[in-house]
């Protein structure tokens, strides 16, 4: 099982600092879940992961694959719509600044003509490639996906996916440890090397992908809502001020506290703080809108 999500880079422009690519969402994908209407949905945070991976390829190509970016800070990730089995993600990102120490970028993801995801103010440290993976392996992987082609991508619409039983990789915390309904929720996740994303992320240094942690937090938000007894149904609209301060590795015990930061008639803001051995590793705010549909 792997964690390389970009199927193809179709346009790469060093001069313009832009990159375009695609990812098909198919029954072969494992990061899929059935939503409230039993539609097979690609995990929303992994849309962001796919966009980030594509941008990482562009950044690495510009520095001859001597360094690679890792997750750092994201100003805002907006989830406009879901993506489903049968969709093709059209990914586009722009590198705003790149030097030896960091990369800054923003990007968008479309399905057909519909904007489904936007990323603003992403900033990541650039670290030595060999700390994470052999340069020769990365070059081989890049050669496999860097296949220039047509843009925009034309996709077949009105598909009727074949329904079948699907095994997916659940991305959840292991257990709730404390609960103050409507106020606070604490959970723990024990990180094991057995997780399917570690072989690719990364061979020399397995570290928990930020977006996997974000997906776990979205599910934790649902657990909070289930216990809060609120009258409205809420949907995640944005993740703001995301910051990954340190690596989380197999053997770590990750503790997360979710607190209700702000509540209005139509929106909630939840604050998440994750620690390992009392050391801050990840923080973010999650904005939810009152909706007819659930998270």
């Amino acid at each position: 099982m792997h964690f390389l999500l970009v199927d193809r880079i179709v346009q790469l422009s060093s001069s313009a600092g832009s990159v375009r690519g695609i990812k098909h969402i198919t029954p072969d994908d494992v990061y899929i879940y059935a939503d409230s209407q039993a539609r097979m949905c690609f995990m929303p945070c992994l849309i962001g992961e796919t966009l980030g991976q594509m941008t990482a390829w562009a950044a690495m190509a510009q520095c001859d694959f001597q360094k690679r970016p890792v997750a750092g800070v994201v100003s805002c990730a907006t989830l406009h719509h879901s993506a489903y089995v049968g969709d093709t993600l059209a990914l586009e990102s722009w590198i705003d600044d790149l030097d030896e120490e960091s990369v800054r970028y923003h990007g968008e993801v479309y399905v057909g003509e519909r904007l489904i995801f936007r990323l603003e103010g992403a900033l990541g440290p650039m670290l030595p490639m060999d700390d994470f993976i052999d340069r020769s392996t990365v070059l081989r992987q890049f050669d496999q996906i860097n296949r220039p082609g047509e843009w925009p991508v034309t996709t077949v619409t009105q598909q009727q996916p074949i329904t079948m039983a699907h095994r997916s990789v659940p991305l959840h915390f292991d257990a709730i440890t404390e609960c103050e309904p409507g106020v606070r929720l604490c959970a723990v996740k024990r990180i094991t090397r057995s997780a399917p994303y570690f072989p690719d992320h990364f061979p020399h240094k397995p570290v928990l992908p930020l977006t996997v942690l974000l997906e776990c937090k979205m599910n934790l938000a649902q657990a909070f809502l289930n216990r809060a007894g609120l009258s409205s149904v809420y949907r995640v609209r944005e993740l703001q001020r995301i910051k990954m301060s340190d690596f989380v590795q197999p053997g770590d015990e990750l503790h997360t506290q979710l607190t209700l930061k702000k509540q209005s008639e139509h929106a909630l803001v939840l604050h998440f703080r994750s620690t390992v051995a009392n050391r801050r590793v990840c923080t973010l705010d999650m904005v939810l809108d009152a909706s007819e549909e659930g998270v």
Partner: protein, 137 residues
């Protein structure tokens, strides 16, 4: 522009970057020891300051300022700050109490000394050195 005029905005930005109450951020606060900053926070902080004050802060600018007129070889040897380097460092970081400077301090430990005032000085210097055409923009 001076430290006092920069401090209010600096306080807001640092509190935002480190997810702290503004009351916790004082001019004398050390970013790492007192405020809990990590390396990613410095990256984030520099980016936010560049955006807020419309300046460019080259990588390693603080360390370069601390070195003053000394060459890299005069400033540190095998990662340890020389006596001359320590004098230059103390002169630049004049706002940092004397007892924070440890003997045989390593180059990698310099960021431990940085205070909020250190970054205010950085902004004042950057704005002063900014070409007039950019200031008027």
């Amino acid at each position: 522009m001076n430290i006092d005029s920069v401090f209010p905005k600096m306080k807001t930005i640092i509190a935002d970057v480190l997810v702290l109450d503004e009351d916790e951020v004082q001019l004398s606060s050390r970013l790492i020891s007192d405020l809990g900053a990590e390396s990613i926070d410095f990256l984030d902080l520099v980016f936010q300051l560049e955006k807020e004050f419309s300046i460019k802060i080259p990588r390693g600018q603080l360390e370069k300022n601390a070195r003053g007129h000394l060459s890299e070889q005069e400033f540190e040897q095998k990662g340890v700050i020389t006596p001359a380097g320590m004098d230059a460092l103390k002169q630049y970081l004049s706002e940092v109490p004397e007892d924070y400077f440890k003997p045989n301090m390593k180059l990698s430990e310099i960021p431990m000394l940085f205070t909020v005032e250190t970054f205010c000085k950085l902004i004042v210097a950057a704005k002063t050195e900014q070409p007039l055409t950019q200031q008027l923009a």
